[in-house]
Amino acid sequence: MTAPLLSIADLHVAMGPQEILHGVRLDVPEGAIVAVLGSNGVGKTTLMRTVSGIYRAKQGTITFRGQPIANMPAHRIVQLGLSQAPEGRQIFSNMNVRENLVLGGGDVGLGELDRVLAMFPILSERLRQNAGSLSGGEQQMLCIARALMRRPSLLLLDEPSLGLAPKIVAQIFDLIVRIRAEGVSILLVEQNARAALRIADHAAVLEDGRIVLSGPADQLRDDPRIAEAYLGGHAH
């Protein structure tokens, strides 16, 4: 087996005096979808932010394509081909949709614009509208679209279905499968555990800053503990 695309080992992250992640280990193999599940406040977002270089790792390693990226400045990590659609969207609310996408393209440019807009037709109708005036769901789509603009090799999605209509949620999950087929690996944090486990290859459960369970997604899907905690009590 080849070395995973992203490999996180013994990651500790602290915010002030309080440690939030206590030794997380997680791999994202090339071309895989890895889902991270966990209830509120266990540190999923913290993990994602640390991978993207927003938070500092107190201890531990993160390697991306064999290159250590822990505590590398965020912009360098993005330039290596690791984009994130973050929690809270973090779009540029005073700039229009097109400018947001252009910024997402970074130095890769606008090559992806047409393809991305084709995935989110609503956005192409609103290219000149200020991103801040979009509806919540539209903003969420913009956030994902922006992350795709760079043609990343690893895409981090922090709750991509947040605020989207059921029809769009289904589309988003289809989309994730599709872009995986194009060779993009995906690290996915999702509250909609059922849907996440359906498309994921691997999954991990984060609890209190530790990975307590991990393995192939179909295995986890049948795990009673998962069913109890994340799937509303009954499997499937």
Partner: protein, 256 residues
């Protein structure tokens, strides 16, 4: 008969976008109504029109028989309409308790005079005690008393959602508007939330909520309004909505 909330021919344009167009709807006292629709359908805009954040382009909104279109948000709020926001808006640098107390003070203003001399006369003391009590009750209702002293910014997302609801409850509203309360919660948490909302409703509160989680909406709402492209396309019981062709087409997607 008059409804608690009466929305008549309401519309709102933003430049070229007709966010809400000619919507007529109502909510009865004691009802639990869901508002659904595709992204960008105008749900949040409709909430903003009701709560006074966005001026109407046309139509009227009446609450408890009173026209409230044209009122400022705080006037609307003091009439008993309280809301949460789609993008969480807690007061990050205030404690949880203080956050919630703002809702109580919004409804029962403590003036400068009361703050200065409140301790000296009975009415002032009663007022403060009442605010404290409402705040504490709201915190208990959502189960956040154990973090009352925490800075709101330090709460995880899920607790912030409840914090926002507690703040709205501390106003003791007659009518509660929730904008995507379950967003970002997992199934178990959503189920708890649904039970919580139902309990609130059971205690007599009129509620209207926007939500994309169909299990929640279908599970607890008595009636559902559906918006698409700013227009009302359906209004009916969950069962009727579930099978409504237009709704399936515009919103739910065929396979649900």
């Amino acid at each position: 008969m008059t409804h608690l909330l009466e929305i008549r021919n309401v519309s709102r344009r933003f430049g070229g976008v007709q966010a809400v167009g000619d919507v007529t709807a109502h909510v009865n006292e004691g009802e639990l109504v869901g508002l659904i629709g595709p992204n960008g359908a105008g749900k949040t805009t409709l909430f903003n029109l009701i709560s006074g954040f966005t001026p109407l382009s046309g139509g009227t909104v009446a609450f408890a028989g009173r026209t409230i279109s044209g009122m400022t948000p705080n006037q609307v709020a003091r009439l008993g309409i309280s809301r949460t926001f789609q993008n969480l808006r807690v007061f990050p640098n205030m404690s949880v308790f203080d956050n919630v107390s703002v809702g109580a003070v919004g409804a029962l203003p403590q003036g400068a005079f009361g703050a200065l001399f409140g301790g000296l006369h009975r009415r002032g003391r009663d007022r403060s005690a009442e605010i404290s009590r409402r705040t504490w009750e709201a915190l208990e209702a959502v189960g956040l008393t154990h973090v009352a002293a925490e800075l709101a910014a330090n709460l995880p997302y899920g607790q912030r959602k409840y914090l926002e609801i507690a703040r709205a409850l501390a106003m003791r509203p007659r009518f509660l508007i929730l904008d995507e309360p379950a967003a970002g919660l997992n199934d178990t948490e959503t189920r708890d939330l649904a039970a919580f909302i139902k309990r609130l409703h059971g205690q007599g509160l009129t509620i209207m909520l926007v939500e994309h989680d169909m299990t929640l909406v279908m599970g607890i709402c008595q009636r559902i309004l559906v918006l698409a492209s700013g227009r009302k396309i359906a209004d009916g019981t969950p069962d009727a909505i579930r099978t409504d062709a237009a709704v399936l087409e515009a919103y739910l997607g065929v396979d649900e």
